[in-house]
Amino acid sequence: MHFVVCIKQVPDTAEVKIDPETNTLVRAGVESMANPYDITAMEEALRLKEKYGARVTAISMGPPQADSVLRQALSMGADDAVLLSDRAFAGADTLATSYTLSKAIETLGNVEPVDLVLCGKQAVDGDTAQTGPGIATRLGFTQFTYVIEVERIDPDKRRLQVRRKVEGGFEVISGALPALLSVELELAAPRRASLPMLIDSLRTPVKTWDAKAIGASSALVGIKGSPTWVKAIASPQVHRAGPRWDAAEGVSAAVSAALDALFSDEEFAAGFVKGWKA
């Protein structure tokens, strides 16, 4: 079997902020990393490989420096890695991204048919969770999102059974291969690369493919292929900015003043006293 894992390089977003003085993005010290959900998908692909036997290819779309996430995939045990990098890919929204990735998966499939695509439920920088369903739809693969367990694969009958999270519980669902799984973090704890594997991975080159290599139409990739555009960015607006009191000038007085402000709303005060029962 052939598994493809999609990995996105993301900024360590907790630290990205707008400087309120200059209204510019503060970049200093922002590191990039592999999207944790995608690394979970990589781990699961390797476990399935160990169980059922398969070839695992990692792919990523991004600038040349995104090859570091593919290096990580190789060090974990991926057999092959392809970086999709082309200036024309820049500015892609999820529609253009899913197009580009699906073209790459098709290209891989021309050499060795792809049975399973694994990707993270979402990327931590955008949180959209749209790219996985987009790829599955374009490729016509069976789509299973929010997967927490791959129960079994039957390579002969070409079937797969997974457990996935749904509203109010879990669902056990089976469907035909080829399929795409978008995975939750609890699916598998990623392994750490051993030193020999790390050294070994350095011998495997990361291939780089551009739009031409995957037969992608220039009208459908990058900003040109993206229906959504950014109009403006801003620090979030202030919603209420109520008064505040400093406990340094007396804890009791500060608490009392704050509560007075809160309880001046009679409906709210009544709700509190009644324990929020109407």
Partner: protein, 416 residues
């Protein structure tokens, strides 16, 4: 100013200022701008025609350009005001069904859709997919829909990406709404990505604000991005419908009006010509599985500044007193103090309690957008510059270990 070989005074990007928002790339009429390997925009001087559009559109003044040298260029006119294809009309809402009833988020969206439809002088369309869903269709009218479009088929009794994806895409192709709103529930997020791809249109996830731009009639969608520290306004110029997903409890629940009238039309469901997956079983999450923080009328939320196991009992005491439960921000989950199910934020839960008390929560945007539906917000933080104070109804600057016991004492008095 730099000139190119044709003698045109071209615009230049100041790399240190560029934030890679790519607005200029979209604005440039000749495609002269691309993101370079360093992740900043770069203008190809030989392609640049010196029109200055990038200069006008840059939100951070990262374009160097001499306005006086601006060259008028013959270009195709951008979209005329209100020039969306007139064949696309109406603001549609996907009505999600949970246990045979409409999901609350769908009614919240119907309320928002009414607002948008009024500005567009259009109708609110409710798209209902399922099996035996007549009651839901009627409810949708009571919550603000004018026209209900139903696909009622036994194959739609349970959700599958393949069946619902095709059904909703087919409805859109037939009814042609200009806007489609979907609740960002697990089901809605699974579905929206499929439908947007099938229709090859733009989809903006987890919007926290939706507006109609007066001049153009376009839907402007704001959402937190870069992990929630920055708000981006997104639009979809050409493709229709303009799709947006919105989390539960972001918009207010509209009043139900059992007198409202509307129409219901039925559409035939054509199943997709693929082998459908089979749902083997559904395992409901037991009550013991954990606490659902969104059900509580009050939340005491521990942040990074109160991420201390020894303080947990103090916060629990406060929570019990105000009739709520302890929740937390992302760093507290990352530290392993509380489980993920207690996390408030864009990657956790969106909440709308009567009372929110943030203890040591600094207020990253991804957290703030998830609490904007709260009735009253109280912030306790030792840092007077913590962003959470900007959204609080009442703030107390100080050490929470002193403030919280005092708060408990005074609240006890109020209750007795």
């Amino acid at each position: 100013m730099a000139k190119n070989t044709r003698g045109i005074e071209v615009a230049e990007i100041i790399p240190d200022k560029c934030i890679a928002c790519q607005i200029c790339i979209g604005e440039c009429p000749v495609g002269a701008i691309e993101l370079n390997a360093a992740g900043v925009a770069e203008i190809d001087p030989e392609v640049c025609v010196g029109c200055g559009k990038c200069f006008d559109s840059c939100p951070v003044n990262a374009v160097r350009f001499e306005k006086k040298k601006r060259r008028k260029i013959a270009e195709e006119k951008p979209a005329e005001p209100g020039a969306q294809p007139p064949s696309h009309r109406g603001v549609a809402v996907f009505i999600e069904i949970v246990d045979g009833r409409g999901a609350p988020v769908s009614w919240e969206l119907a309320g928002k859709a009414r607002e948008l439809a009024q500005q567009l002088d259009a109708k609110v369309l409710g798209f209902v997919l399922g099996s035996n869903v007549g009651d839901v269709a009627e409810e949708a009218i009571f919550y603000g829909c004018d026209e209900i479009h139903v696909m009622d088929d036994p194959l739609l009794a349970r959700y599958l990406s393949a069946t619902f994806g095709k059904a909703l895409s087919d409805l859109c192709a037939e009814v042609r709404p200009e806007i489609l709103l979907v609740g960002a529930t697990p089901l809605g997020r699974d579905l929206a990505g499929v439908v947007a791809t099938r229709l090859e249109t733009g989809l903006t996830a987890d919007c926290t604000g939706l507006f109609i731009e007066k001049e153009t009639g376009l839907l402007l969608m704001t959402r937190p991005t870069f992990g929630g520290n920055i708000m981006a306004t997104i639009f979809c110029q050409r493709q229709r419908p303009q799709m947006s997903s919105v989390r539960p409890r972001v918009f207010a629940m509209p009043k139900r009006d059992a007198e409202r009238k509307g129409t219901v039309s039925r559409h035939k469901f054509e199943p997709p010509a693929v082998e459908l997956p089979e749902i083997v079983k559904f395992i409901p999450t037991g009550a013991e599985a954990g606490i659902d923080i969104v059900r509580y009328p009050a939340l005491v939320v521990a942040g990074r500044g109160a991420c201390d196991p020894s303080s947990l009992s103090l916060l629990e005491e406060l929570a019990e007193l105000v009739g709520g439960v302890v929740a937390c921000s992302r760093p507290v989950v990352q530290a392993g103090l509380l489980p993920y199910e207690r996390q408030v934020g864009q990657t956790g839960r969106t909440v709308a309690p009567r009372l929110y008390i943030g203890v040591g929560v600094s207020g990253a945007v991804q957290h703030l957008v998830a609490i904007q539906g709260a009735d009253k917000i109280v912030a306790i933080n030792s840092d007077p510059n913590a962003p959470i104070f900007r959204v609080a109804d009442a703030g107390i600057v100080g050490n929470y270990q002193q403030v919280v016991p005092e708060l408990i004492a005074q609240l006890r008095n109020k209750k007795s």
